[in-house]
């Protein structure tokens, strides 16, 4: 039997099977003692005590507290504990290798696909997904790409046998790409003359959906059905829009159709619409921090300091990673947050961008996003500051209290070839 296991193991290496075995349910209590706990809600506890059982945090406080330590005790003196980082608007698990079309499942054809569901295409065994964990990125909103109404996202955790097990919140939001006021063709950007028509079509589509949902539904209309949650508030509507004008129009669209739960994704020019977003309490999932300014005239550090500008104005901000090479780059999410510190935020604020703020925006803050009693034990221990690449070195990570593997296809190759070269 043992031989067979070894044989299977060797074979799996040989055929390149790299994904790690998902961890079993937490079956004993775990106590982490002595670490600096970054709660994700703006608070930091030095010399902290964290205990969790059955996947939930049972104690979060100071290690000076006299309370019985439960289960396995991890001494984390000098180390740092963080809630698992959360990435909204991601295509992780939908594409494996960019250039291999056969591995590409992130977009459908056509404009009006709210019924398209990302969850069922999410590849829980993706090598790219497993590479998130050693950097502390443990949860993501898996989002379809496409043209206008691109589909419905779901929130997953990154250690699962299959998509069903991965789902943290299925079908959490519908995604709408707002038309652009400027369009680019062959290196020339000019005003999009179709802008008005395109926005009108969105209005019409939502009016039609509402009429359908109020009616007898004699014939089932799958896309309209998929919007039902957006109207009754059980699903959010993520509007992907960067331009100032687009943001203003998107907000008035949501007002007109009485959509309560909207989120702006991208938000490159959101700093010009701060009052509007505050008035309607609309959060922003800010585009990739590590990006170039759109215009030659923009400040070189504009993308670095946007998070500060919006946060200081009182807007709830999270960070996303979409764009070129977005999936494999998502493991740099903590460093995007770190960069915002160099450009004006405090470390605690920056951490919130990828923990509690993201959880709130995704509607999973009841369970995730911060280290608090009663919440899911989705957290990790880092040797140092996890927002700094220099010190982001993770020794333990837990999702719902399960101690997950930090090995990946990449760490295996590292070990294998380091060993070869040692000889």
């Amino acid at each position: 039997m043992k031989k067979l296991t070894i044989y299977i193991f060797i074979l799996s290496i040989f055929i390149g099977f790299a994904q790690q075995t998902p961890a079993p349910k937490q079956n004993k209590a775990i106590t982490i003692e002595g670490a600096t706990a970054h709660l994700g809600n703006g608070k930091v506890i030095d010399n902290a005590l964290i205990m969790f059982e059955n996947g939930k945090i049972t104690y979060m406080g100071s290690a000076l507290t006299k309370i019985a330590r439960k289960g396995e005790i991890i001494n984390a003196k000098g180390k740092h504990v963080y809630p698992g980082f959360i990435v909204p608007n991601s295509t992780l698990g939908l594409v494996e290798i960019d250039a291999v079309r056969a591995s590409d499942d992130d977009a459908e054809i056509g404009n009006w696909n709210p019924n398209i569901r990302s969850l069922i295409a999410y590849n829980a065994e993706s090598r790219v997904v497993e590479s998130m964990r050693p950097n502390g990125v443990l949860l993501g909103q898996i989002t379809p790409r496409g043209a206008r109404l691109t589909g419905t996202s779901s929130i997953v955790q990154f250690d699962a046998w299959n998509w069903e097990d991965a789902a943290v919140k299925a079908d959490d939001a519908v995604h709408l790409n707002w038309p652009q006021n400027f369009k680019q063709r062959r290196g020339v950007v000019s005003q999009n003359k179709e802008y008005k028509t395109q926005t009108l079509k969105i209005h019409e589509y939502f009016s039609n959906a509402k009429a359908y949902l109020n009616g007898s539904k004699a014939t089932t209309h799958l896309p309209f059905e998929a919007l039902s949650g957006v109207f009754n508030g059980s699903k959010k509507l993520f509007i992907h829009v960067d331009e100032e004008k687009g943001i203003i129009d998107a907000v008035s669209f949501s007002q007109k159709h009485k959509l309560q739960n909207i989120v702006i994704v991208g938000g490159y020019q959101a700093e010009n619409t701060i009052d509007l977003l505050k008035k309607h309490n609309i959060p922003v999932v800010l585009r990739r921090v590590h990006s170039l300014p759109n215009l030659d005239d923009n400040d070189y550090d504009l993308p670095f300091k946007l998070a500060k500008t919006l946060t200081n104005a009182g807007i709830t901000v999270a960070l996303e990673t979409s764009g070129d090479m977005e999936r494999m780059n998502t493991r740099n999410l903590p460093f995007y947050a770190g960069t915002t510190v160099a450009h004006g935020l405090t470390k605690a604020q920056a951490l919130q961008l990828i923990t509690l703020n993201a959880a709130k925006i995704l509607g999973i803050d009841e369970n995730y996003g911060s280290l608090e009693n009663g919440k899911s034990a989705t957290l990790f221990i880092s040797e140092g500051d996890a927002l700094d690449m220099k010190t982001n070195k993770i020794s333990y990570a837990f999702i719902d209290g399960r101690s997950i593997s930090l090995e990946t296809h990449q760490t295996k190759l590292w070990k294998r070839y380091s060993k070869k070269l040692e000889k």
Binding site: A99, M328, A342, Y417
Partner: protein, 992 residues
Amino acid sequence: MLKNYLWFIAIFFVLAINAQDYFPKNDGVKTQNTNYTAFTNAKIYVTPTQIIEKGTLLIKDGKVVNSGSSITIPKNTVIVNLNGKSIYPSFIDIYSDFGIEKPQASASRSRSAQYNPSRTGYYWNDHVMPENNAITKFSYNKKEATELLKAGFGVVNTHIHDGIVRGTGALIALNNTKGNEQRIISETSGHYLSFRKSVTSSQYYPGSIMGSIALLKQLYIDADWYAKGNINTKDLSLEALNANKNLTQFFEAGSRANIIRADKIGDAYGIQYVMLGGGDEYERISDIKATNAKIILPLNFPDAYDVEDPFATASLSLEDMRAWNQKPHNPKILADNNIDFAFTTFKLKSVKELKSKITTAIKAGLSKEKALAALTTIPAQILNKNTSIGSLKNGYLANFLITSGDIFDKETTLYENWVQGEKTVFESLNTKNILGIYAFNINNQPYEMVISGKLSKPKTKITTGSHTLGSKINYKDDWVNISFTTIDTTKQEFIRIVAKVDNTNTLTGKSILPNGDTLPFTVKVSDVEGDEDDKKDTNKEANINDTFFAVSYPNKAFGFTKLPEAETLLFKNATVWTGEAEGILKNTDVLIKNGKIAKIGKGLSSGGAKVIDATGKHLTAGIIDEHSHIATASVNEGGQNSSAEVTIEDVIDETDTNIYRNLAGGVTSIQILHGSANPIGGRSAIIKLKWGESADNLIYSNTPKFIKFALGENVKQSNWGSYSRFPQSRMGVEQLYIDYFTRAKAYDDLKKSGKPYKKDIELEVIAEILNKERFISCHSYVQSEINMLMKVAEKFNFNINTFTHILEGYKVADKMAEHGVGGSTFSDWWAYKYEVNDAIPYNASIMHNAGVTVAINSDDAEMSRRLNQEAAKSIKYGNVSDEDAWKFVTLNPAKLLHIDDRVGSIKIGKDADVVLWSHNPLSVYAKAEKTIIEGVTYFDIERNKSMQEAIKLEKNTLINLMLKAKNKGLKTQAIKKKTKELLHCDSIDKEI
């Protein structure tokens, strides 16, 4: 004098007879007009500087016989009294495609690119067509000719605007009366070139501007070799090129940058091109001056942008806004710098725009004299026709304009345009001036009438008492027809006047009342002054856009109006990352003097140095990016599987804002690599990011020679639908290298033998590799091909210098160390294509541990400005020490680029290329505060803030001016902008 005169007559006589002599005439008797025509009482512009105030122009047989204030007029002369009107030489449009059919795009569009030529018997590249001849495709277009004549042109120089080498052009007189036998002044007016491919062929090469440059360079060598009789086969292109050698060589550069590029080609082969400019020459006027080229200037000054929509306006760049203000000043700036230039209507939407555009340039300070020269004497001189056209000296073609006055004045009327003695009339010379104020009574009702505007299209305003009446006027052939409404506005009734004008400005005729009664009508002008409306009209543009906005270097946001200079700087109390054996020194001072690191130590005295308190800050050597594609106009020449003949040095774009952004990320030197479209790519440019300097000044002095090679999916074209170019597999890649190195060896042996050989730029470059004078940086991913290339190099007895990307380097790190090749890799990129499946972020550390010189590179304009963070990732992935990680982006890339004797560490005597950081530079929290190259502070975080303020202010000033322009009724254009595409290894030139 008289002798000369007779001599001219004699020649004309002979010519005139010869031209007609052998043509049969079947519609009458043969006649010949030997009369003279004299234009008297005219202001004659013989040349822009030689002006006869009240003189006579005498012409005969289509040529000028004489001009002057008191010349003898032969008896058989028809005299035209011009009564003070002006005569100018007709204009020459030197850059035209008049009468040439637009070349048709090739129909064949196959799935795979076309690598081979479509023709035989000609040069191997379809885009080289020196054998083309405009005259063979020429057909006189009278309609277009009339438009040109109306704009003032008498001669156009036309050629086929297609291809890289375009063949000869033809100089055509716009003679609407006679045939081509008269019109063709020269059928070989010049020879024409450009960087742009022909639309008539799909042959892929050259696929970039650097390919066009290389093609031209090799072409000249081949032509010379052919001329010497060394080639046994027939090449009609080379024969034609050689035949056209002594003609004026025109180059369609189209921009300041391309003028410099083309001029370098010319310099290498002893050719001085006449350049078609881009209107942006003022941006680096001294560089343009240094080319010694004469410039042909299009006049397509941009219209103001329509800036009413603030959302749209937000996307408008300072660069484009400034262009609106600055470009009209370009001709004046060229003139001030004594650069000869000619105007052309090329690029104008319509030739009708000519006058208004020249007026714009004059308002921006260009003298009328220079404007006239740019349309007459200068083009004539460029065409080597300055003894027959462009002025009205004796013996020149009788190509002239008769105008009411100053030709560049808006209100001036062009009466006649004479070409080769044949006239085209636009306005009768005898048209009497009826402009002015008239007072008259009809049926005891007093009226006042103002006639204004142009004589060809006058306007009227008729008032009676305080009422203004609706009125219309029509003026033709001395007759005016006027109709106006009666004072009773409830009725639709008109009073009509028909009258003839006489020389005393008296209108005499009759008026017809609404009831049909006619009354005699006579009125004499009471005041000939032009009216107020018109004066306002001419002032429309005044004072809106007259102030010249200063040029900055580069001429866009964050450019320097004054280039920063090297300073003596003393950094006090810094944490100094030396990158040398001394390691990281705390509380240390560094003195920078004469562009070098002068002293490192504690408590250094300042002397005269500017002291910078660096307490709590970190001073490092500037970051060096081994693999960059910023600051270049093109990246790939993918038209062939080897493009060793091209070099990025030819196409550096010093205006790329990413230079400034890189500086703000602490980067001071980069290698701009050719892309990875082919196994043997092009040569690199190794530059310092001296923002504001010209392209050439960025390149390292004594720059090490590098070339890009590439392996894997890109060179076998796996990820785009191309199936016809060898190699299509990794197997083929090896053979391609062996083939090229074998041939380069043979070439080099022949060259060294002293026997005659034809210079082959491509093989010469590859032979430099064999001779260890040029180094390879090879784009590489998987271990098999990495190993292969090292074996190929070893077979030819040289080493690969650098594997760049080298994502599976960790699998063969031992072999790499043994070979002695360096590895320049990404910190953590992977999974973007099949061959990077096994890329791991531990790669740098494993190679480093195996003894390979490791660098972390970017290949990306965004990542390059955060290379300090990328280096720090090797601490996370593989536990590299801080000092070693920092070397990954400083000293190690310097070593790989063979510039470590000058840069890469803080060491006395090295270039003062340093960065002051707010924190440990490997921390995500670090910001570059000052980036210094050779003692010059190119980035300063505080200065950056004031630049941002200045940009905002300047843009708002320009927006206000543009709003004013629109309110005054000037033309505006919709906002659109060009985006600079971010270039990567895979980028292909779009515009070529």
